[in-house]
Symmetry: C2
């Protein structure tokens, strides 16, 4: 497996202080823990990071926090998409300046029904605007949230025009058939499923790795399947991942993930999310913690 | 009609220079022309202004440009919504500091299927965060674009909790039944249809005014109906507005409006839009200019 833009890149969740500000020391501690658990790098500033609920200034700062703490830029894959091209260029340049492994690029998501032509031009202008600081791009395809997505025709055109830059895609469509089709359609293009429910099938088809919210609480489990997907116990590993994923997803993915991080780190503040998301209710939390898949995960983490 | 938050508030289109930057002198000239044409005030930084395609810095600057030119804050109704509460607070405070008549507030629009509870909390935190600088709010309801919208139940709750602040709503649902229902459901609440296709019916039901993209090119026409909706020629005025609206809407609302502004002001640069929108093709432009409703509008503007 190539060292960059493959493997496990958890979309790092963001802890907040009681006053709502980003808890930078706990963010760093979590990022370090994920690397220790087997992550190849850190997909900071994604949907799971609540990046779009952070001010533009906070988003720039999240990159600096990691660099200042000595985490190499090559371990970072920040989300730098924005509705305004100018904001996206500024964030992407910043990521490029610190030597980020790449950026996860949302399409501009305010206007809907925009043309492939316009999205192509948006990416072209972004690349032009970043000049020599342009890091590699993983297209971020998450139509259930952003609504605007990257079509197959557009992906093909972008790869052809910018083969050194547009090198992959995170597929958070939740649609296994879509992931498998993209892998087949674009050989050499790094496709990352955005969830691990069908990770084994995706790896067998040629997926580059995984970028999944639940990697925040199950990085070691995900890494195990990435390393051993050709081993006889791969189906068992996949079943374990699927059980954990279902446990969190059925209760509200991000609030559930942060609830488990609060348990793992023994810090209730981790349960906080920013508006317009809301934390799990006490009842949902109790139900989540009683889920067998979750309970065994927490025991493993405590023993590690 | 009360002087504020009623009447005609065109969502001011934004001209760009060849390098893509905001053409501030032409923006101001257009704003002044709209006031001269009969607008009660200026809904800057809306969807038609391509506000979400402008950087956060440009959005702050658009407010200052008007104030520095001597346009009173009370004539401004800036859009200050943002996905990040912190960005929305900063913009709204800025609008409050210059004495804006109000702000048009989009809900945070990245995450979908968010709860009314969370949107209520978002508005409450915004009001808290702005403190004494809090201007009045017009909720901005545009589900065809933002997807996230303001439900009737939530509107009722916001009015009850913040009766002095949450004073109205711009309804860009495109759904006449929705506008009429809101007017009936919330007496005293200022409801502005986001398009003039059913303006007469809305005014008869008690609408506060109109905030419509096509007001950029037909402010005098819209003002005439607002002033004379009880006159015998009201149906004729409405028919004229509807014809113009259809001419632009059927070709792509904002690019068509900007194409007509280029004609009116004799400046081709007005045709430019920012990505991810695209300007009208030459063919669509020719078709638009040949539309009888548009042709007579341009003749009237030239004669004025």
């Amino acid at each position: 497996m190539a060292p960059l833009l493959s493997g496990l890149w958890p979309p790092v969740a963001t802890p907040f202080r009681p006053d709502g500000s980003v808890d930078e020391p706990r963010l760093l501690a979590h990022s370090r823990q994920l690397l220790a658990d087997g992550a190849h790098g850190l997909a900071i500033l994604g949907t799971t990071s609540e990046a779009n609920s952070q001010t533009l200034e906070e988003r720039h700062r999240a990159i600096d926090v990691h660099i200042e703490a000595g985490i190499p830029g090559g371990r970072l894959l920040p989300g730098t998409g924005a509705c305004a091209l100018g904001d996206a260029i500024a964030l992407t340049r910043h990521a490029g300046a610190v030597g980020a492994a790449g950026v996860l690029l949302l399409p501009p998501f305010y206007y809907k029904k925009v043309s492939d032509e316009a999205l192509f031009a948006f990416v072209a202008k972004l690349i032009e605007g970043c000049g020599e600081k342009m890091p590699r791009i993983l297209l971020y395809h998450i139509p259930p949230v952003a609504v605007v997505g990257w079509s197959d025709a557009l992906i093909g055109r972008l790869i052809e025009a910018f083969p050194e830059v547009v090198v992959g895609l995170k597929d958070s469509s939740g649609d296994k058939a879509n992931t498998l089709r993209l892998i087949q359609a674009f050989p050499g293009f790094a496709v990352f499923p955005g969830a691990e429910a069908y990770l084994l099938d995706a790896l067998r088809a040629g997926a580059a790795g995984c970028i999944s919210a639940s990697a925040n609480i199950n990085a070691a489990g995900l890494r195990a399947l990435l390393d051993r997907w050709q081993d006889p116990d791969a189906e068992t590993l996949q079943a374990g991942l699927t059980a954990v994923r279902k446990a969190v997803e059925s209760r509200g993915l991000l609030p559930a993930v942060k609830t488990l991080l609060a348990e793992r780190y023994g810090h209730a503040g981790w349960r906080d999310v920013r508006l317009p998301l809301q934390p799990l209710s006490d009842a949902a939390r109790a139900e989540l913690l009683a889920d067998p898949a979750v309970a065994s995960l927490l025991v493993e983490a405590a023993a590690a």
